[in-house]
């Protein structure tokens, strides 16, 4: 078995590297640049029950080593995603993780039920933490009981394992993670963006039309690492880590912290080939550091004994 293969609930990944939701659309654009089958998986753009236009523009602003976005969950809606996007993606040998969002619990349940039946959807990712949606969004991601309840409801209807995406905008991320684990989640993905803002010097107006937006990119990497380090020691479900990864070394830092796979968001905008590049560079990095298999790195910063969470063998 390949030294990069990892086995997570619902996901037999040939490698642990995947694009993060919202930063890769439904793959069509990147498919013009490389074969998507090279990816461990694809986290598709957040899908909601109905089509959404999202927020007014400007929707992005640059920050030191990061960016703010307030896309506002723009997507073509559940039906079109299943019929046009997922069926198109089926031509690639790559499992899809469907990121789903909504304004009410019923929205999530409805989307989960339907989308989890698509043949190439191998897992769901509950986006309970989008900072750019006014209604409801915040409570789902910041109140443990609410997040747990949502997890339970979605688990009941989902045909595939359910991962819950944690918001970093909380006082106690471990408490959130434990509540979600107890509610039956199969895995966690973390972190989503941090709520931030930029103001235009000339106009004194926020640069984003939505005023605030989600901070992503290398700037947030140390926060993601810390949170994964804490959560991975407190739960026994696996974590897909993200937040500022741009190189194979960055990815390794996430494995050390306790992630069992990694996702790459913002870096796709800087280097559209970043995902396959990291896949290609990881083996040499493992060689250099004397590891046979990526699973030996998982949680190594707190457990030298080797893989304790999930491994690929």
């Amino acid at each position: 078995m390949s030294r990069l293969a990892v086995e997570l609930p619902g996901l037999s990944l040939k490698n642990p590297v995947m694009p993060a939701s919202g930063c890769f659309g439904f793959g069509r654009e990147y498919a013009k640049l490389y074969d998507l089958s090279q990816l461990g998986a694809i986290m598709i753009k957040a899908t909601t029950r109905e089509p959404r236009f999202g927020n007014p523009t400007p929707r992005v602003a640059e920050t030191p080593s990061g960016m703010l976005n307030a896309i506002g969950l723009q997507n073509p809606g559940l039906e079109k995603v299943i019929e046009e996007e997922l069926s198109w993606l089926a031509q690639y040998d790559v499992p899809i993780i469907a990121n789903i969002a909504g304004s009410t619990m019923e929205d999530y349940v409805e989307v989960a039920k339907r989308i989890s039946q698509a043949p190439n959807v191998h897992a769901l990712e509950l986006n309970i933490s989008c900072p750019n949606v006014k209604k409801g969004g915040i409570a789902f991601g910041t109140v443990p009981e609410v997040a747990a309840e949502l997890t339970r409801l979605v688990k009941q209807v989902s045909a595939v394992p359910v991962y819950v995406k944690l918001s970093p905008n909380v006082t106690n991320i471990v408490e959130m993670a434990k509540a979600i684990e107890a509610a039956g989640a199969d895995g966690l993905t973390m972190i989503n963006t941090l709520l931030g803002m930029r103001i235009d010097i000339k106009t004194a107006e926020p640069i984003l039309a939505n005023r605030t937006g989600g901070l992503s990119g290398p700037a947030i990497k140390p926060i993601a690492i810390r949170m994964i380090y804490e959560v991975s020691q407190a739960v026994s479900i696996p974590i897909i880590g993200m937040g500022g990864i741009a190189t194979a070394e960055d990815a390794l830092e996430f494995f050390y912290a306790g992630a069992s796979a990694v996702a790459i968001g913002t870096a796709n905008f800087v280097d559209p080939f970043v995902c396959p590049t990291i896949v290609a560079e990881l083996p040499a990095l493992l060689d250099e550091l004397g590891f046979d298999h990526i699973s030996q790195c998982i949680g190594r910063s707190w457990n030298k004994g080797g893989p304790t969470v999930y491994c690929g063998t």
């Binding site: 109905e50 723009q74 073509p76 990119g217 913002t266 800087v270 559209p272």
Partner: protein
């Protein structure tokens, strides 16, 4: 669409805070349409993080060189302006859909209307139109005399009018004042510039064939992130992406 490290062949200021940058590389062979742009990485590390969208101003396939003209504006273009001849720059492109040449026939008359840093893509367009046998009239608007560039280049391809907001050169006022004042006629109008200018043109010529190149803040530049969308008339959820459906749209196709 590729990523390539292109080499700086020439890089000099040509007006106040306006730089001409000539890049060499095989990527030029993929560049065809006037109005397409490249997405340029200006920083070596993560600050500034994002690429900068810059239009192609001149495509020279024989020399495998392309020209970009940009204004030193914020942090990214300031860094870019310090790069020296011989250095390489990471370029993603060519991106987007340019101005449709097929909208106008040989012998017809095209009006090219550019505002400020919207002028550059019109130069490649003018060249291609002239080559096709189209009569080109260019109307270029600038803030002040000291930021005017490429007057001679456009003049060599057809009639040219210049307007400055402060009246320091050419007609005082906006490009629309020139069109109105001169009563210029045309078969097709192509424009690139600030949104107020584009809106004015949209209103002025409701029945004409008009193509507008839009600007929007971008993330990916290739259609994946939904940063750069604009609305489609009479539809709540439909949208077009400036980066991959545009940046050039037919007037009325999207809501300005």
């Amino acid at each position: 669409m590729k990523v390539e490290k292109m080499t700086i062949v020439y890089h000099e200021p040509i007006a106040r805070n306006i730089y001409q940058l000539i890049l060499g590389g095989t990527l030029v062979q993929e560049m065809n349409e006037a109005g397409q742009f490249v997405h340029v990485k200006v920083g070596e590390r993560t600050d500034p993080l994002l690429r900068r969208p810059l239009s192609l101003c001149d495509i020279n396939k024989e020399a495998s060189e392309c020209t970009i003209i940009y204004r030193k504006e914020g942090a990214g273009t300031a860094l870019l302006s310090e790069k020296k001849k011989g250095e390489v720059i990471d370029v993603l492109g060519p991106l987007g859909n340019g101005f449709p040449l097929e909208a106008v026939q040989a012998g017809q008359r095209a009006l090219l209307v550019g505002g400020g840093i919207g002028v550059p893509p019109l130069y490649e367009l003018a060249k291609q139109l002239v080559k096709k046998g189209v009569t080109v009239t260019s109307i270029l608007g600038f803030q002040t005399q000291d930021v005017i560039f490429y007057e001679r280049e456009f003049a060599s391809l057809g009639e040219i009018y210049i307007a400055t907001a402060d009246g320091s050169y050419g007609t005082k006022g906006f490009v629309t004042d020139v069109i109105g004042g001169r009563g210029l006629s045309f078969d097709v109008l192509y424009a690139c510039g600030p949104k107020p200018m584009l809106k004015a043109l949209e209103q002025k010529f409701p029945d004409k064939e008009v193509y507008l190149s839009l600007e929007e803040r971008m993330g990916c530049g290739i259609g994946a992130c939904f940063a750069c969308v604009c609305r489609v008339p009479n539809n709540e959820t439909a949208y077009k992406k400036v980066c991959s459906d545009g940046p050039v749209f037919k007037v009325g196709e999207v809501v300005l």
